[in-house]
């Protein structure tokens, strides 16, 4: 299977190989060398929901590899006229070699994968999964800490609707980390995910306290409280802005602790943190390029190890 719908589609060995491959892609990702491994191939970027980083980094990744990109947005397309996802994907099956899909409905990526023959890469389905974000998150953590074993990783914010937190926690649990899940009661990690993490043998602590856990952390992964996922304004107002990190919170942190964020941020991380040694969120956003280059190659059957010495 060349689809990537959830992190369960990848074995631990495949994840590590993708991260190794992504590292080999770094010079090409920066544009220092040209590596046309996907020349003649077409990627369809199917965005039924807004995206900045994911869409652009997939586009850059494909272009850095010599491929071409079709960009689709649902506004103004046949979708606005009531076309089913099934029909839209049939069209794309004929127009491209691989498709990235983001959709507001959960399950849309798996549904698309069942509907077509070309590889489907899930770029976020509702509050479901976002595995390519997870790959770049893992890459970022590994670049700093070399390994995942026994790291203390704190996920903070909207763990209920935040799909990046869902995918990342699932993946991290497979690599023996200690997870601290920090969220208000209303935005706790869904029970089925916590059950999965525990059954993977992961140490999980659920709390609503941020500050007292900072000094133990190797990675602090902040997330935005997502206004668009709330059923009403009042519920959002109760929890928005509840967790904020500024430079002053970081006194006493571990030397090589890093702060990550899938971005966009609102007020969770104060700009004063940007210039500290802990900030990794912009580097993390860049890391989307090499990891997505590695993933596109894998989906299209290109073995980077063979191609890049």
């Amino acid at each position: 299977m060349n689809d990537l719908i959830t992190m369960d589609d990848l074995t631990n060995e495949e994840i590590i190989k993708l991260l190794d491959d992504a590292k080999k892609m770094l010079p090409a990702a920066k544009g220092d060398v040209y590596l046309p491994l996907l020349q003649g191939k077409v990627l369809a970027n199917m965005f039924f929901e807004n995206s900045t980083r994911t869409r652009m980094s997939f586009e850059t990744a494909m272009k850095r590899l010599g491929g071409r990109v079709l960009n689709f947005t649902s506004a103004g397309s046949s979708v606005a006229k009531g076309e089913t996802l099934y029909d839209t994907m049939q069209m794309i099956d004929g127009y491209s070699d691989v498709a990235v899909i983001r959709h507001p409905r959960q399950g849309a990526a798996q549904y698309s994968a069942d509907a077509v023959k070309i590889p489907i890469l899930n770029a976020g389905d509702g509050a479901g999964n976002h595995p390519t974000q997870t790959l770049l998150d893992l890459f970022t953590i590994r670049e700093e800490h070399n390994d995942f074993e026994n790291l203390n990783i704190m996920l903070v914010g909207d763990l209920r609707y935040g799909r990046t937190a869902h995918s990342l926690s699932h993946a991290l649990a497979r690599f023996n980390v200690n997870l601290t899940l920090v969220s208000p009661e209303a935005l706790k990690m869904p029970k089925e995910i916590v059950d999965d993490l525990l059954s993977l043998g992961c140490n999980v602590i659920e709390t609503d306290e941020l500050n007292e856990n900072i000094k133990h952390s190797d990675v602090i992964y902040m997330t935005r409280i997502q206004k668009e996922r709330f059923p009403d304004e009042d519920e959002y107002a109760k929890v928005s802005g509840i967790y904020k990190i500024s430079e002053s919170n970081l006194v006493g942190s571990k030397e090589n602790m890093i702060i990550m964020h899938p971005l966009p941020r609102v007020s969770e991380i104060h700009p004063s943190v940007d210039s500290t040694k802990y900030a990794r969120y912009f580097q993390q956003a860049f890391n989307g390029i090499p990891t997505r280059m590695a993933l596109l190659c894998k989906s299209l059957g290109i073995d980077i190890e063979k191609e890049v010495s």
Binding site: R105, Q106, G107
Partner: protein, 152 residues
């Protein structure tokens, strides 16, 4: 003690968990006003279950597809096909690994909620005891007690 008279032809479902027989009728779509005669015994003492329900459905032999539905909420049930007042056949209730077009995913934001989407409703049986069912597309765990509301 026999609480309901024997039936001549039809199906007897025994060992339904106490109080669940009305849900079973909904799962089997036998709860409409026009169905066959049905006798229902609820909450009688049972060695196996503590309390159990029994259903006797006249002039109707349940087919395997219906027994698969039954398994979702009454996996311990035993089913006997009655012909001419005696047990002609015992049928097994068994839960398949996949439920295709039997129930819909209950999650309001699942892609399958768009009724015009043509692919089949597909749920995966992750665990058989206790029964745990997840949507094959969105991955949501289904609330077993709500399943009769989502029967296709």
């Amino acid at each position: 003690m026999r609480r309901v008279t024997a039936i001549c032809n039809g199906t007897v479902i025994d060992h339904i968990p106490g109080g669940q027989s009305l849900q079973v009728l909904r799962m089997l779509k036998l709860d409409s006003g026009r169905s066959n005669p049905i006798s229902l015994v609820m909450n009688v003492p049972s060695d196996k279950l503590g309390r159990k329900d029994v259903l006797k459905i006249e002039d109707r032999e349940l087919v395997q597809e219906e027994l698969d539905r039954l398994a979702i909420i009454a996996s311990e049930a035993s089913v006997a096909i009655i012909r001419n007042y005696s047990v002609a056949e015992k049928r097994k209730v068994g839960l398949s690994d996949e439920l295709i077009n039997i129930i819909k995913c209950s999650f309001s934001n699942c892609i399958t909620q768009n009724e015009r989407e043509p692919l089949p409703h597909k749920l995966i049986v992750v665990n058989k005891s206790p029964v745990e069912i997840r949507c094959a597309y969105c991955g949501k765990t289904q609330e077993i007690s709500e399943i009769p509301d989502y029967i296709i």
